[in-house]
Symmetry: C2
Subunit: 326 residues, 2 copies
């Protein structure tokens, strides 16, 4: 069984061999642009790891891993339009570079290609793969819509937020593991354990991301520190703070979050919010929540019938993702 | 074998029984809105007719017919965003009614649901259905991108245009027939004959649409007469006129098409163009081209191993579509 770094390399080689040269050129240029931006390939590597965990060469799951990466990139392209995001991974987003109509259509085509790769498997496996993938794709759309709705909703609860990140982020990680496991020859029970484990992992990662946005000490994230605060985003940190704060502090927090983000005031605003977060020990509370979901993920993984050595590789990779400082 | 009207009714009943009630509500409202706008259901009815042509109850192909209608509506939602179209079937388009972000995401979800319905078939049929559907979906995206590119391209040829409508319009009609035939138990050869016949039919219909936009005497089309001319659209009529015109007339035509569409001048502009079209016998030439493709469609259909009675129903429906005056 290969290590995660080897699988990432294997995946990158496969990805670079996939050609999108059809006409019209401008429909397929965003494929090559997006897929070649430097990325961690977290989801495809998880799929490949899950495949090898059941004793099958990861090469067998490369089309499905690529399908997952295509799907992920399709969501990024369309999300960036909806969020009016000018940048993606430090480079111009697709709609910024190629225009919005190409970004919509190219994303659509990318979703279709995801299906095309997904079903490059043994025929008897295809309906099962589609079932997992379809449910995942619908959930990701639902999660994104919840996320957008939250922007204008006043009373988003912590449990609303947890449900949203489960749909928007965790389901795809869960499905990557399940799809990899199925291609690897896993039975229904074990692949479902990996799915459930992946959900907990995904939630754990997202909470870690929320945390790093505010408390990262590294320059490597490529994002503006406190970007979520500047955008008044209702993250776990903000919602947890509201939950544990006394009425006076909660009112103060709400005031800072509702104030128009006039850029001259931004620095002060971020600092005031950070002060409240520190008083309420939000960093510690978020870390704790993230770790609890990680523990749940590991305990679910332990139940799957996989040799300890193979489990170790999955655990090692998961830990490396959780413990990154950027 | 049922008649087309009966199949349309059967399809409408099925459609109204499909519920899209999941959360968040606003993601699924456009499903119910779009799917309930009055529509001819041309593509699903073709799929159902093709299914019965091979002696199988059309009910068996209802999920696939619905998948095709979902796909068609997904393309309409996204196309309307790209074309900045405020209306669809005389009602507000989805992005106009619900906002652009919901229109993008709801369209995405609709495409996923199309796949969900498509694969509700015998397992051994699923890979084949997916192959037809995936290729169709990619071609439709390509056709739409060509269409958008043509708006700003100076030298669009008649053959460029024919290729574009084949991808954007004819492929989906061809695939509807093929998918219906496959569910109906057709062999590969006959389903491919229906596919090829559908391509010719689709081209024939599109040329007829181009014609009706300019020469329709009916109010029933729900569209503005000469809408394509007002939008400077490079339709078959315009490109054919350019092809057969002498240099002087061609120059005049190009001038009218390039002039900014200031609304005070529009009536004059449309009338001048109509005059040129009449001089060049464009109505007759377009009708002829449309009829030629229709004849090809019928001759391909004749080759399929279907009883004459069953063929008759398909032919009757196709003719009714071609001969409509609006």
């Amino acid at each position: 069984m290969r290590r995660a770094e080897q699988l990432q390399k294997l995946f990158e080689e496969y990805l670079l061999n996939q050609k999108f040269n059809d006409q019209p050129r401008n429909l397929f240029e965003p494929f090559n642009y997006m897929l070649r931006l430097p990325a961690k390939r977290l989801r495809p590597v998880m799929a490949l790891l899950a495949c090898e965990a059941f004793g099958t060469d990861a090469k067998k799951a490369l089309p499905q891993a690529f399908a997952i990466e295509l799907f992920h990139n399709f969501t990024l392209i369309h999300d960036d339009i909806m969020d009016r995001a000018p940048l993606r991974r430090g480079k111009p987003s697709v709609h910024n570079k190629y225009g919005e109509t190409i970004a919509i259509l190219s994303g659509d085509a990318m979703l279709v290609f995801a299906y095309k790769y997904l079903v490059q498997a043994n025929e008897q496996l295809v309906p099962k793969l589609l079932q997992v993938f379809n449910q995942c794709a619908i959930d990701v759309c639902r999660g994104q819509q919840f996320d957008m709705n939250f922007e204008s909703e006043q009373n988003v609860s912590l449990s609303d937020y947890m449900k949203m990140i489960e749909l928007k982020t965790a389901t795809l990680i869960a499905s990557s593991l399940k799809i990899g496991a199925l291609v690897g020859g896993s039975n229904e029970k074990d692949s479902e354990l990996l799915f459930l484990s992946g959900k907990e992992l995904g939630i754990s990662f997202q909470l870690r991301d929320d945390l790093l946005d505010v408390f990262s000490t590294s320059e490597k994230s490529g994002k503006q520190r406190g970007g979520d605060i500047l955008q008044n985003k209702k993250t776990f940190l903000f919602l947890k703070a509201l939950q544990v704060a006394d009425d006076k502090t909660a009112a103060k927090l709400l005031k800072y979050y509702s104030s128009a983000s006039a850029s001259v005031q931004d620095r002060t605003r971020v600092n005031e919010i950070l002060k409240i977060f520190t008083e309420l020990k939000i960093e510690e509370l978020t870390k704790l929540e993230s770790e609890n979901h990680f523990k749940k993920a590991m305990s679910l993984l332990q139940k799957a019938k996989i040799t300890n050595e193979r489990k170790g590789k999955l655990i090692l990779f998961s830990k490396s993702l959780l413990n990154r400082s950027h």
